[in-house]
Symmetry: C2
């Protein structure tokens, strides 16, 4: 499990880590700020941040005392790109279902007209 | 780690499982067909299929002897939906970069015209 996609998906397979990423979409935040909403010790949160950092999903600034964490787009963009064929797959299925329903409705309407 | 999203992402965090899912976007397949491209024992492949099945990403038919596996769209759709805000986040960043580059090019062109 050393490929980037596997590392990204493994990092996303945790609700706390996903909540941290969600928070970071609104802007940079310090470790203390990120820890605030969780009923968790600072070391526990730091551990999650390390997983996210190793996956390249976030980076931590070196400047200033508060060392802000911020989102890095690349791994998430690659994960989303990997999902694209599935999106097409289910959209096609929805299209086929839509087509089937329209056809059925159309036939039903025709049958009603013939009966009149 | 009992929430559906964590289970989905954990199931996706493996290259063999992702390859199996990719194969299934082209249509249903038996376990033997799915095992074929991998240098893996049938029990090893079956183990991966069980993880995918438990995550709800695939289902296995009960009819016929070959019990075809097929994709189930829902968990992947939910995972993709979870990623949407990040897509918007990086698209906004790209837009800002694009705007900055256009502005810079515009200013550069104006400076050149003033010099003439």
């Amino acid at each position: 499990m050393n490929d980037q996609l596997s590392i990204t998906f493994a990092a996303l397979a945790d609700p706390t880590r996903r909540a941290i990423l969600s928070r970071l979409t609104t802007g940079e935040a310090s470790v203390t700020e990120l820890a605030e909403p969780f009923d968790m010790s600072l070391p526990a949160v730091t551990k999650h941040l390390k997983v996210l950092q190793r996956a390249g999903l976030i980076s931590q600034g070196r400047e200033a005392q508060w060392r802000p964490c911020k989102l890095e787009a690349k791994p998430m963009r690659e994960a989303a790109a990997w999902m694209e064929p599935y999106r097409r797959h289910w959209e096609q299925r929805i299209d086929r279902l839509d087509h089937f329903l329209r056809e059925t409705a159309h036939k039903g309407a025709r049958r009603l007209r013939t009966r009149k």
